[in-house]
């Protein structure tokens, strides 16, 4: 069977599965819509959280980034996993004990202030909307490459599927589809990795294969890779830093703190029955995430090695362009891969030296998507990768859309503007908000605004510099007052966004940056994407200082904080107040 047909069948089967789940898991109450009724088993929630968390960026882009940055790619590996330790110990159990539907709701109650709640809603919406644009683009790209439909059509199909299960089922539908999507994406990621590891090193476990010798030699894979990348002028694979050690440190910290502060991840922990389950569930989530995240560095190094071998089969012997493999031709058509035969010798030379390098463009994303083709794996594996990429993008998009929809219907409508609506009306409102959020995300996916390129900077910067510190202080420091919390959040976001804008342009419009996007004008050499951790430190400092000079929180708020610190007396998350 040809690849095209196989891909249609595989993607079609997974999509029918998601729709089947949507019909089975309809939501009948607000509790089901916001928190899946609060009865999800911790292991199941761990799996759903893993799919919720691992986005198109984790599935498609991350290994490619590591392949080209080598050790420098570490910031993503540690940064996007280490946050779960913070989540498990500092946030999840206490927020679960509090037992409400949304993150801004906790911030509003703990800081006894509607202003704090609205500020939190604004941060949440900004972070989630920018994040969801990336997922929509991922859906469009995966469709256009694998199913050869155009980008727009792909996006409409993706929106249609999410619409179906997110509007009907809310968190309940999303949870069960995320579990299915996790299974699809993890198989799609690990199966090619196992084959490739086996081919190169004889060891079927990629995590061990990466530390093994190449088949038929005594040379370790990583040593060989270090050697060949240096031969053509790149830095050593296993030791090249991203910027400086300081930058690596703060970038990793920003991603960790940002991870723990992202609302779409936090609300997943509201779906388990008990406080102790929230702790367990964070552990299981990280287990399921770690399966992909420890495989990714192996995929990265092996893909880079295979690519180099294709381009330069033996030293000084470059690939003849006319004899290039099929995958090379396929990806040239997409524009993600481009060559220019500068010396007209009919061969393609890959080099770190720009004046002689003839592989003028190779997009990071190719490394995962073309990996099975580069390694000459069977067509069904390639079809599975397409379904996996779509599962990763759709599962994250759905989680983000729920966080957005619930903050609009529950925090803004029910919480601030129309507290008198009954449950039925709120459920309807949440469905309408969800539909609106999907339409907005789709629109932004079709017409990506200029700032879409800075998505990661905004989402992680906002979560790290505003939401995480507010939540943590709300639980661990009884004396933080509403003035302190609001001033802290605003200061944290402002300094982070100011730093991003001054180097990348106001709202990322080119030419409006007032300090230039240059390494030498960065504060201690810290790149804008890594600045969220500095924003978080500013948030903490301002909140403590302001709380010192303003009235302490009222007695009943201090009791509330004491109460959420102990598991006893918890009940399933519900809407009653």
């Amino acid at each position: 069977m040809d690849l095209q047909t196989l891909t249609y069948i595989t993607v079609g089967l997974t999509f029918s599965l998601y729709i089947g789940i949507a019909i089975w898991a309809r939501a009948g109450t607000t509790s089901e819509f916001y928190v899946a009724g609060g009865g999800i088993h911790p292991v199941a929630n761990g799996m759903a959280t893993a799919a919720d968390w691992m986005s198109a960026a984790s599935f498609i882009s991350m290994a490619g980034l590591i392949a080209f940055f080598g050790y420098g790619g570490t910031v993503f590996l540690m940064g996007w996993t280490g946050g779960y330790v913070l989540l498990a110990m500092l946030l999840a159990p206490y927020l679960r004990k509090y037992g409400k539907f949304t993150v801004p709701e906790f911030i509003g109650d703990r800081f006894y202030s509607k202003t704090a709640r609205v500020v939190a809603v604004v941060c949440l919406i900004l972070a989630s909307v920018t994040y969801v644009i990336g997922q929509m683009k991922g859906v469009g790209v995966a469709f256009s490459r694998f199913l050869e439909v155009d980008y727009d059509t792909g996006l409409y199909v993706g929106m249609g599927i999410v619409f179906f299960y997110a509007v009907l089922g809310g968190m309940k539908g999303i949870t069960y589809t995320q579990i299915a999507q996790y299974c699809v994406l993890i198989l799609a990621y690990t199966i090619p990795a196992i084959f490739i590891s086996l081919n190169l090193t004889g060891n079927p476990i990629p995590q061990l294969g990466l530390g093994s010798t190449l088949v038929g030699t005594d040379t370790y894979l990583l040593d060989r890779l270090d050697q060949i990348v240096q031969e053509i002028g790149f830095n050593e694979y296993t030791t090249q830093f991203r910027g400086s050690m300081t930058n690596t440190f703060f970038y990793t910290l920003s991603l960790m703190v940002g991870t723990a502060g992202l609302p779409h991840v936090i609300i997943r922990f509201f779906t388990v029955p008990k406080v102790s389950d929230a702790r367990k569930s964070a552990g299981w989530a990280l287990v399921f995430i770690a399966i992909l995240y420890t495989t990714a560095p192996a995929v990265a190094a092996m893909a880079r090695y295979n690519l180099m071998n294709t381009l330069e089969p033996s030293k000084g012997e470059y690939m003849v362009y006319a004899e290039r493999p099929d995958w090379f031709k396929n990806w040239e058509k997409t524009g993600l891969l481009a060559v220019e035969d500068k010396d007209n010798d009919g061969r393609i030379r890959y080099s770190a030296d720009k004046s002689i390098n003839e592989l003028i463009k190779i997009d990071n994303d190719i490394m995962v998507l073309a990996n099975p083709e580069i390694a000459k794996l069977p067509n069904w594996v390639i079809a599975l990768v397409a379904a996996g990429g779509l599962a990763a993008a759709l599962s994250t998009a759905a989680g983000l859309l729920l966080a957005i929809a619930s903050s609009i219907s529950h925090d803004l409508l029910k919480g601030v503007f129309r507290p008198d609506i009954n449950e039925k009306q709120e459920l309807l409102a949440s469905r309408i908000s969800m539909a609106g959020a999907i339409a907005l995300a789709g629109y932004l996916g079709l017409n990506p605004p200029g700032f879409a390129a800075g998505t990661v900077a905004i989402a992680f910067g906002l979560a790290a510099s505003s939401i995480f510190p507010a939540l943590m202080m709300g639980i661990f420091f009884k004396k933080i007052s509403k003035e302190g919390a609001v001033a802290g959040m605003i200061a944290g976001i402002s300094i982070t966004m100011l730093y991003v804008f001054q180097h990348k342009g106001i709202m990322f419009i080119p030419g409006t940056s007032f300090l230039g996007n240059m390494g030498d004008s960065w504060f201690f050499g810290i790149e804008p994407n890594a600045f969220g951790s500095i924003g978080a430190i500013v948030n903490f400092a301002v909140a403590f200082a302001v709380s010192k000079v303003t009235a302490p929180p009222p007695e009943h708020i201090q009791h509330l904080v004491e109460d959420i610190r102990v598991p006893i007396g918890s009940s399933a998350v519900g809407g009653s107040h």
Binding site: G73, P93, G211, T213, T238, T239, V566
Partner: protein
């Protein structure tokens, strides 16, 4: 139990929890930021099979440690919950 004893027990529970968190976060910091970033060049002088040790911590080892830390915390907290009688019914 009177209310005073009760809140004393809760305070003791909380301070044990804080001590545990600080200990585990110290380990969290050492295996990731310490071994994976700040000391990476030093550790890279040693090998673990075909891995340079610092590189292994950065791209593999730290993640395994994170998983172990969370499950250890979960286990210790379940014991603490019982010790102070604050577990859920």
């Amino acid at each position: 139990m009177s209310t005073d004893n009760n809140s004393d027990a809760k305070a003791a529970y909380w301070s044990e929890n804080i001590r545990l968190i600080l200990t585990l976060l110290a380990i969290w910091f050492v295996v990731s930021f310490g071994f994976g970033i700040l000391l990476v060049d030093v550790l890279n002088q040693f090998n673990l099979f075909g891995y340079k040790l610092g590189f292994w911590f950065a791209q593999q080892g730290s993640i395994y440690c994170f998983v172990v830390l969370i499950f250890y915390y979960t286990k210790k907290m379940a014991a603490l919950d019982r010790k102070y009688g604050v577990e859920e019914e």
